[in-house]
Symmetry: C2
Subunit: 221 residues, 2 copies
């Protein structure tokens, strides 16, 4: 194996480690939200510090790979896509921190059992995150396309969450309900954004494989 190939495979592994950390952040923040367990917030916070360090290490590796090897074609696309995916993963980590902070506030209020659409949103977004990483790891553009197709579902569910929250405020507009409604609006927004980042990563994977930029196109499967 050429030294360059070893370095490329090393970069891929770093990005997969980064993805694993971010998936752990998302899972932990969701547990904190659903199981109302404030201890999970510390775990999210520690993981974020690891993710921040890793983001800088990966970008540095990408720059050195370009400077020392002058790659072209698919190799260059792999490296620049890795830089973009790295940035989207770090921002997913930020959204997990946002969810964790909102969950910490929500624990102070009685539990809201009626929000069935949030767990559904979480389920779809977690599948999107898992599959965009798998698509990157296995160069599977069909799987990446299937992630794009799921983003509209998440947006529709967010609208349903908002409609539910509006009804809740109308029915019982007390200070506790207003505070937790605002928290949950931000939670829904963060989950939607996780889906957006998974979409960005999937578009990068398709570009990496085919050299075709599918951003801002309407893709149907």
């Amino acid at each position: 194996m050429r030294r360059f190939d070893v370095e490329m495979s090393n970069l891929q592994n770093h990005l997969l480690d980064m993805a694993e950390l971010v998936q752990k952040m998302i899972k932990t923040a969701m547990q904190e939200l659903v199981e109302r367990d404030p201890k999970q917030a510390d775990t999210v916070c520690c993981l974020e510090r690891e993710v921040n360090v890793k983001e800088i290490v990966i970008d540095d590796k990408c720059l050195k790979l370009i400077a020392l090897n002058q790659p072209v074609g698919v190799d260059l696309r792999f490296i620049t896509s890795a830089m973009r995916i790295n940035s989207d993963l770090e921002r997913m980590g930020d959204e997990a921190v946002n969810i964790s902070e909102m969950a910490l506030d929500l624990i102070r209020y009685p539990e809201l059992k009626s929000l069935v659409y949030i767990p559904k949103m979480v389920e779809i977004v977690q599948s999107m995150v898992m599959d965009c990483i798998k698509a990157f790891n296995t160069s599977d553009s069909k799987l990446a396309l299937s992630v794009l197709a799921r983003d509209d579902e998440v947006d529709d569910l967010k609208d349903k969450v908002l409609a539910n929250l509006k009804n809740l405020m109308l029915k019982s507009p007390n200070i506790d309900n207003i505070q937790r409604t605002i928290d949950l609006i931000f939670v829904a927004k963060s989950i939607e954004r996780l889906g957006d980042h998974a979409t960005n990563i999937s578009e990068d994977v398709i570009f990496m494989i085919h050299g075709k930029d599918v951003r801002h196109l309407c893709i149907t499967m």
Copy 2:
């Protein structure tokens, strides 16, 4: 002037054009919000299409510049920073579209005069956007640092907007107030995110000039 230098200067001009389009989107969306003028929404929508096309053109130019010239050092940092700045600018455009959509909904309800903190947020964020672009154009890392320092002010103002909106819902929790409060929560969130993107661009400018990655550091001036 070497052909490579001409191409690099050409890339910088493309990015400045992109920044101008995005600043126009932000200004137009804010006008739509403040002057309650629904016609501005069409302008925002047209500008978004231009921005989306430009994003792809700029990324393509960056890849070709790397593949054909094998740049290193400050030149390579300039090109990879340009890719990152391009992405942040496009996402700023998306936030302007979000603000425009919320403004369109808000026009259906009577005007809310009491929200003094939103115009203040807008003013600071517009200065951040202008200065991060100027810092990029003139390689001024001191100006870029001053943008980072303004982000906390924006976050504090967002908290004040949320407190105002909570009071409004508590005082008069009718369906109109609840709907426009949710719209304004999203407007405040989008303005805050414009500040975050200006911060990202400023960090890229500092990296481009000094080769020092200042992301995730606590910077004091």
